[in-house]
């Protein structure tokens, strides 16, 4: 499929080398590069210049929506649409509705944040190209797409080798 971009990738076998390589790649002026690892590496966000994730805003807003949805549901069904007298309690028995409001807050916030992750990471994705199968186990990679500023294959290859890459290859990601 055509949505994947061509570029060049370097592969490392040590965590500290990839972290350094990510710093250097960013210093060299590249902005669209991706650092790939099997687990979240401490300090990688700073190295790549990644801003704090925006997911908490989604959680907050959808949590509020869930809370209001719970309030509306319990109020409208119990006090408006068909009010039934249960043991002489008020039609709008707010304290009794709090558990429902609470659960819907959590439910809305949790599911929406997961949906936001799917959007942010562009998953699910069917059979995306894989630079190296060991990247999900014990190797690390940096991928620079061809359309990044200052893209020059020979220069990048030399830079990756100098930074300790065990392998450099032209690929698609």
């Amino acid at each position: 499929m055509a949505q994947y971009t061509k570029g060049i990738a370097g592969i490392w076998t040590e965590e500290n080398l990839i972290l350094k390589a990510a710093y250097k790649t960013r210093e060299a002026g590249f902005t669209k590069f991706e650092a790939i690892s099997a687990y979240p590496i401490h300090g990688m966000e700073e190295a790549c210049g990644i801003k704090r994730s925006w997911l908490p805003y989604v959680t907050f807003v959808t949590g509020c929506v869930g809370l209001l949805a719970g309030l509306w549901l319990t109020w409208w069904t119990s006090a408006v649409d068909w009010a039934v007298n249960v043991g002489g309690k008020p039609f709008f028995s707010l304290p009794a509705f709090i558990p429902i409001m609470f659960e819907l807050t959590i439910l809305f916030a949790a599911l929406s944040t997961v949906a936001a992750l799917f959007y942010a990471c562009k998953i699910p994705r069917i059979d995306p190209p894989n630079i190296d199968p060991d990247l999900s186990s014990h190797k690390f990679a940096i991928f620079i797409p061809y359309n990044d500023t200052g893209y020059d294959e020979t220069k990048i290859e030399r830079m990756f080798k100098e930074l300790g890459a065990s392998e450099v290859k032209k690929t698609e990601f």
Partner: protein, 453 residues
């Protein structure tokens, strides 16, 4: 300075971790696993037959009768929901407290949560007596008015609490599994395995940007699950506490139920983990004796919290001056169900005291036996609360006993068949320790020289 023990033994490299944890998924199952699976599956088939009888003939096959209208189904529901709570506690609460030791056991504990909630969920649905009408529990526009559900009832709060808990736990568990599915996919030798695990991994590729969002999501889900798990057993306790029945109508119930849930859940984690360590010896380097010891300490602590709750209930029954309340509690300990009460106290309060001794809390056979006793004790706790409060009604002419039938036994024993079948399948098909979470904590406890690099 205090020296930290390593979380993972054996100087593992990153590749060793992937190899070790994926091994049970990639090799042919052992004879031991096959034997246990056949046993569990047979028990599950027996359970299905029992439940078919209960649905086909009616709830009267169980011992529920006037005045004991809540019996095995409710008791076992609360038991299994409680088991589930330790999984969320380990995966979410300990995550928020930055307890890195949780990493090795979190995945399996969460799996236990999901399966325990699934097992529990069946009971209230069948206990309605007409399970084919269970969709009435949800507020949906209907042709009866529309007549809405009663949002003032704790039983309805429970519907929302348990279904939200089941959904969020499953999502939390699955999100944790996604990067590990990608690992298994990339290691796959044949196309079918590659396709299935590839689909499960959602095309996860582990870029730094994705990890950044992923870690944030994990933190948020942990933050949401923490109040959720406390709310679930609080609301389960409301099923009892909001009624006006002496023995149920007490304000101590929410914290008492939550402590009991964590207590029983950790016992089940210990039971399962001792077996997993025997069945998959390569996991011994990841789930070490240190891990088991920490969990045993939690069992002893929560056991004493539960014991305090028992004592406090008794004190308040006397101090309140309410003679109905006092009668219920004296009857609980010295009435016809006194044997159940003392089973509960011995299993939950006395036996875990063994863990004061370091030697005992680090002994696998001892902790296995203690955890089984705790499980028995916690089932009896719910039996004592439910049945003894009901069997002596306000009018002595309405007094009765719970008419335990062999269908009650079948329902209780059979539910383990369902749980164990799911759990054994999980051990074979999913990576039972979080690969992506173990790798960052590999060097905890190693100094620069003894490092694994």
């Amino acid at each position: 300075m205090m020296k930290r023990n390593p979380l993972v033994l054996g100087n593992k490299t990153l590749k060793d971790v992937s190899d070790d944890i994926c091994a049970p998924v990639e090799r042919f199952p052992s004879k031991g696993w096959m034997g246990m699976f056949l046993g569990a599956k047979t028990l599950l088939l027996f359970y299905i037959a029992i439940l078919a009888g209960v649905v086909g003939v009616g709830i009267g096959l169980l011992g529920v009768n006037s005045p004991v209208f809540w019996g095995t189904m409710i008791v076992t529901f609360v038991f299994w929901i409680g088991i589930g709570h330790a999984g969320t506690l380990i995966s979410a609460v300990l995550f928020l407290f930055r307890q890195k030791w949780r990493t090795s056991v979190a995945r399996t504990a969460e799996a236990m949560t999901v399966f325990a909630v699934m097992t529990a969920g069946i009971f209230p649905l069948l206990h309605t007596g007409r399970p084919w009408l269970d969709y009435w529990l949800f507020p949906y526009p209907n042709q009866r008015g529309p007549l809405w559900v009663n949002f003032r009832s704790p039983l309805l709060w429970d519907v929302f609490a348990v279904s939200t808990y089941a959904t969020v736990s499953m999502v939390f568990w699955y999100i944790g599994l996604v990067p590990d599915f990608a690992t298994i996919k990339d290691r796959a030798k044949n196309k079918l395995r590659r396709t299935i695990y590839g689909a499960l991994s959602l095309g996860w590729r582990g870029t730094a940007r994705n990890w950044s969002h992923y870690e944030m999501l994990y933190l948020i889900l942990a933050g949401l699950s923490t109040p959720l798990v406390l709310s679930v057993h609080t609301i389960v306790s409301f099923d009892f506490a909001v009624s006006n029945l002496p023995g149920w109508h007490t304000t101590i119930f929410p914290p008492y139920f939550v402590a009991g849930a964590i207590f029983s859940g950790f016992a089940m984690v210990v039971t399962l983990m001792t077996l997993v360590r025997i069945g998959f010896p390569e996991f011994k380097n990841y789930v070490t004796l240190d891990h088991m010891e920490v969990m045993n300490k939690i069992i002893m602590t929560t056991g004493m919290l539960v014991g305090y709750a028992y004592a406090s209930e008794f004190f308040i029954a006397w101090y309140s001056g309410n003679q109905y309340e006092r009668f219920v509690f004296v009857n609980r300990a010295f009435g016809p169900y006194g044997w159940a009460y003392w089973t509960m106290v011995s299993c939950n309060v006395l036996i875990p005291q063994l863990f004061w001794f370091k030697k005992l809390r680090r002994s696998i056979p001892v902790m296995f036996v203690v955890s089984i006793f705790v499980n028995i004790g916690m089932w009896f706790e719910r039996f004592v609360i439910t049945v003894t409060s009901l069997h002596r009604d306000f009018l002595p002419s309405s007094w009765g006993m719970y008419a335990w039938s062999w269908f009650d036994t079948g329902v209780l024993v059979g539910s383990f068949g369902m749980f164990l079948t799911l759990f054994l399948l999980y051990l074979r098909l999913f990576p039972a320790i979080s690969i992506a979470e173990i790798k960052p904590v590999l060097n905890v406890g190693y100094d620069d020289k003894g490092g694994h690099h």
